[in-house]
């Protein structure tokens, strides 16, 4: 899937062609017409706060459509160890105050969360581990991130492809099983395994963007194994554009995370079948609503499809565009906050009249055939 980095180029190419501004109610009416006429409409992107996500899921249900999030690949990878194995998780607060060992795993973590070092107070001993120092290890980190963390780091470089086998080796040694390695490499792996086993409360920090799915699962396995003799947990930084918050909303509104469809009326979850990009590229879906109130990211597909866009910028690749307010900036919101790891209220930092995603969707729903509004 194209990443955010690419979006500015796409955006500048698309922006001049932006659909002529039309009044918001006319836009919502047109959106309702497009979505309700479709055989299989897709509510995609879903870069929205919790209220926006609830509304988007209800719209998908009302139109017998599908909902998917722009970072679903990461959402699915994060869910994998939970859905199929055992997962230990903790919070940024606990990592900050209790972890006497912080294990960073993979590249791109600082890009995802620039304040990570300060927030976890990496340079200080953990406040609730009286008298215990903090040990920091980074496997496969960006060199600059490791240097810039603001604490002494025991770093081991590794390419993304090698992360799974590397974690696997540590896992094997932590449990006293053999690996194939040169003497010096074996010593290094053994000493890492010993460091983790000696931690009183260790926390592994990573993300689905930083590791391939099997490596992420391998890491979950390492954490689980370490709990045989000590305490270890993990902190995943979560997908962008409130992916974790949207997942939570999906859990209570529909029972499922994104990539869920209501084709038959009932929610059905299928990570492959209800991948928005695949649905559009294959021609199976015949209308789309693209939402990104966080980042003005363009849709990841290339095929032409009747499209309504709802972003915080001027993106205009579709038939109709509505500019939405940014959650937590233009309006108050609830989102999965990276600094708390829980659904968190955020008051608007620069309140404006820009409409909220849920308000726009409610207007669309009011125009659906059979709506009582």
């Amino acid at each position: 899937m194209p990443r955010k980095a690419k979006s500015s180029a796409r955006k500048s190419a698309a922006a001049p062609k932006a659909a002529a501004p039309i009044d918001i109610d006319a836009a919502c009416k047109l959106a309702a017409t497009l979505l309700s006429a479709a055989r299989l409409p897709v509510i995609a992107g879903m870069g929205a706060d919790v209220a926006g996500a609830r509304a988007a899921i209800r719209l998908a249900r009302a139109t017998h459509g599908v909902y998917d999030h722009l970072a679903s690949a990461e959402i699915m990878a994060e869910l994998e160890p939970l859905r199929r194995a055992r997962r230990f998780a903790t919070t940024p607060d606990e990592a900050r105050v209790r972890a006497d060992c912080l294990l960073f795993v993979g590249a791109g973590l600082v890009q995802r969360w620039p304040e990570i070092g300060a927030r976890l107070a990496v340079g200080a001993p953990p406040a609730l581990q009286r008298g215990r120092a903090r040990k920091i290890v980074w496997l496969g980190g960006d060199r600059a991130d490791v240097k810039g963390l603001g604490a002494e780091v025991d770093a081991l470089a590794a390419a993304r492809r090698d992360m799974g086998p590397l974690i696997g080796m540590i896992r094997a040694r932590a449990m006293g099983r053999p690996i194939k390695a040169e003497k010096s490499a074996l010593r290094r792996i053994d000493s890492l395994a010993e460091t983790f086993k000696a931690a009183h409360f260790g926390v592994a920090i990573s993300s689905a963007a930083a590791l391939d799915p099997l490596a992420l699962e391998q890491l979950a396995g390492l954490v689980e194994d370490l709990n045989a003799t000590t305490r270890f947990s993990s902190l995943l930084l979560g997908p962008r554009a409130n992916g974790a918050g949207v997942t939570q909303a999906g859990a209570w509104v529909a029972g499922f995370p994104p990539r869920t469809g209501f084709c038959s009326g009932e929610a059905e979850h299928d990570p492959w079948r209800f991948d928005a990009r695949r649905l559009i590229e294959s021609g199976e879906a015949d209308a789309a609503l693209w939402i990104d109130a966080y980042g003005d990211e363009p849709p990841p597909w290339t095929r032409k499809v009747p499209l309504v866009t709802l972003t915080c910028g001027d993106f205009g690749g579709g038939l109709v565009h509505v500019r939405a307010g940014r959650p937590g900036v233009d309006h108050d919101c609830v989102e999965m906050a990276i600094e708390t790891g829980v659904l968190t209220p955020r008051a608007a930092s620069a309140p404006s009249a820009a409409p909220r995603v849920d308000a726009i969707i409610e207007r669309i729903m009011a125009h659906l055939p059979g709506s009582c509004a």
Binding site: R84, M169, K180, L214
Partner: protein
Amino acid sequence: MKPLVFTLRSEPVERLDLSALTPARLSDLSSAAIEKLAIGTTQRPLRVGDVFRLRDGDRSVIRFSGGSSRFDRIAMAMESGVIEVDGMVGREAGCGMRGGALTISGAAGDYAASGARGGAIEIGGDCGDFLGAPLVGEMEGINGGVVIVRGRAGHRACDRMRRGLVAVEKGAGEYAGSRMIAGTLVVAGPVGGFPGTMMRRGTIIMPALPEIAPTFLDCGATPLGFTALYATSLAARSPRAARLLRRALRRFGGDTATLGKGELLVPA
């Protein structure tokens, strides 16, 4: 006996869920009732008659003349009888099969033979990723039966395999046999990197060793035993896989990241 034939009229506009078209589920239906079965997957689903021309026949042998990558869940949970497809199919072909035979002349999509427990599945072309793997949330993949893929398999073939025998003739993608619990996967063509990642038990047999994780250890030559037995049982169905199984093999034990009781076998 004349088979029941479904002839494809044209490429369907939506994905089809063909799980209703098995011998057991059609045995008591008239052909008119069959034509009315909804097999589409959107709010205004296509019906059998919209997609296929029907030629009535013995319900225990079902033939599809013409295939599509949108044919999902063909032969799902089939317990007995025969389904033959002259063409390609989509996802989850033979998923949860318990008995009978499914033959596909062309390619199959992802999750072919997912969670199958018995029966015989033969795919003439390539198959997608996650051959035999469990669906999301499920804990076990293929759990019995025999699967032959004449072409190549995609990534993570036989993920979480629990039991059974799978032979893939022309090769497999990366992470073949990931998280295998037990069972046997024979790949008679080139295999992508890191086979057997996190396998607990089970056997993966390959013509040559690809890049493997350091959590597999060379155990040297392995005595011919059960591999020869499998060679015999595969001789008729896949001579190519059988030939590989008859060679002297060398064993790499792993994955020591987990239980470590699985093995990768390659010609010595």
